[in-house]
Symmetry: C2
């Protein structure tokens, strides 16, 4: 027998959703840090900013004027990365230079008329309205028969490349399947074909037995640090029911998702008493490609902070050239998140 | 026929080395930037810093004292991510929680006794000595029969997670094949089995015909922006000869590699007249696994800067959840790099 211990010894873990491996170095937390320290973000914003292109009644880049909206507001990104009118075409030079035309739609969703809020500072009932918009937007985009994939996501905080602090998210829909989604499709499909069950349903059942990486659950969702987490406090929200996409969420499930997002993001803010930056987004079944019953809806949160509000994890040299590496274990991260309050630190008692 | 144009229309490109795709949005360069602006790094450093753990004669974390070295200096990382004495072992819980013990050696290479230099500021003859060290270290690490992969890399600049500005690189050697290397092995192997030639040799021959993405070449190396570049000014140095690893570099090739690194990194610094940050590293044949004749040595440079010394490209939301995206084309980037001077901006005429 062996005295190998996940809590102590360097090891690799398999991401069952992508098939990729990550390197975990639990002993390395004692490393001193003399590297880059991020500025803390000025966090006091006005409820309305006349310069903000997302605030109600303001002008946008294309000259149009935002409505005086009261909940959410959706519009086509003025600097869309994907366009509707891209001509078909491609290049294949000896199978060495290979390119394909890409067609798509990029939309922006303002989560609130209030410039000074973020998801964790909004009421669960307000977040619920955002979930409603995600569902209707997904349905609407899926009605274009050439759209195959719809990516709903949010970049929060300027260290996550967010260029406007007004609470908002994005949707990029396109005529092909992106790399990460192709990997998850493949892994879920193989598992479903072999076992007849959903990979994530079985995974969540096992995690609920183990109780080592669960942060909390509500009636319809489980929130956990995945065994193969890459980012220090990476988490995943998984639906308890085997649902292929947000289209099929019931009223109750939509409210429960809002509850899960609220409670998770409040914990994040409370960790370092700062507006916790992250990129978050849903993975779900591609559309207009026939039934993909192996797909199981889930939402990833990838937050970069490691040690404090100002020191993040860098995915650089070894990570870019070899594979992702982390210093704290998923179990340690889950423990910290589990023990944080669900009352936002800015809310006075 | 179609008027699809790689210079104008959104498209995806295939990375023939990994099999992954990236999204290119050439029309998006006009996007205004109100997001994060990085601080410019204070760039005036003393030739010797008594606080630096890499400077000659200084003390390190483990209490040992650095020699009064005159060229390079190699030692085992005091905070190694991989350790020699990890016990064997693993976990496989229903194929859902899967982990393996990892054993390895992490070394640090100081490139110069001078605290105030960087590779582009060193003489080609001095860089040549670094190449020598890379070769002997690779040979030495390959002599451990359980080591399968040796990752030589450098993180340059604090925005690339570098925690000490003293010029240095790292080597992480381990008992398994990292994800990115496994992908490149697979792609090169398939190509070699089908065509009997090296994927990268054929690719470079095609690029030399096209002349759209070549930056420069010397007798033994070609320096180019790969067709599938992800980072704005990503480049690759490829050996003209089909060499599987640095072990087989001749004297002439080692000098030519030093020349290529010098000329490329000087161009980088000249782009925004700043010490250009990047992560760089070599990909080459795994070791102690039998002959892998399809492997073709190359070196990647992944620099994050996009618009200026202070605005970088963020690989966030869409990129993390779906796939990498870039705004400028590889051809535009190659053009800029091709037209830059090879005399460092800090060198007075
Ligand atoms: O080893 P260093 O320089 O302390 O650390 C740096 O490089 C490592 C290897 O790419 C990364 O894992 C760290 O996140 C980064 O800060
Ligand atoms: O679309 P935005 O908010 O201007 O831009 C941000 O999100 C995009 C999608 O993840 C990224 O491509 C950009 O690098 C990032 O700055």
């Amino acid at each position: 027998t062996t005295n190998f211990d996940l809590k102590e010894h360097p090891h690799s873990r398999l991401n069952i959703l992508t098939g990729d491996w990550i390197l975990v170095s639990p002993h390395r937390t004692k490393r001193p840090w003399q590297g880059k320290v991020e500025a803390t973000q000025a966090d006091e914003r006005p409820a309305y900013d006349p310069q903000c292109y997302l605030c109600p009644t303001n002008k946008r880049a294309d000259g149009s004027e935002n409505p005086d909206y009261k909940a959410s507001f959706v519009f086509t990104n003025d600097y869309s990365s994907l366009l509707l009118n891209t001509p078909d075409g491609g290049l294949n030079d000896d199978e060495l230079l290979v390119a394909n035309s890409q067609k798509g739609i990029c939309r922006v969703i303002s989560f609130s008329p209030r410039h000074d809020l973020t998801l964790p500072q909004m009421q669960t009932a307000e977040i619920r309205k955002v979930v409603d918009v995600w569902q209707t937007e997904f349905e609407d985009l899926a009605s274009y028969p050439w759209i195959k994939h719809i990516q709903i996501f949010e970049n929060k905080g300027d260290i996550m490349g967010c260029s406007n602090p007004h609470p908002h998210g994005q949707i990029w829909a396109q005529n092909s399947i992106p790399v990460e989604v192709a990997k998850e499709t493949q892994q879920q499909k193989i598992y479903f074909e072999q076992k007849g069950t959903s990979l994530l349903a079985d995974y969540v059942a096992l995690e609920l037995k183990r109780q080592e990486r669960i942060i909390f659950e509500n009636e319809h969702f489980v929130v956990l640090v995945p065994f193969w987490a890459v980012w220090p406090y990476e988490t995943m929200i998984v639906s308890k029911r085997h649902i292929t996409s947000i289209i099929y969420f019931t009223d109750e499930e939509k409210t429960a998702l809002a509850d899960a997002i609220k409670r998770l993001t409040v914990r994040y803010d409370n960790m370092f008493e700062t507006s916790f930056p992250y990129s978050a987004g849903m993975h779900q079944s591609p559309v207009n490609m026939g039934d993909q019953p192996y797909w199981h809806w889930h939402m990833h949160f990838y937050p970069p902070l490691l040690r404090s509000a100002t020191v993040k994890k860098f995915m650089v040299g070894y990570e870019m050239l070899a594979n992702p590496q982390r210093d704290i274990t998923a179990e340690f991260a889950a423990d910290r998140l589990r023990n944080l309050s669900e009352v936002h630190y800015k809310v006075k008692a």
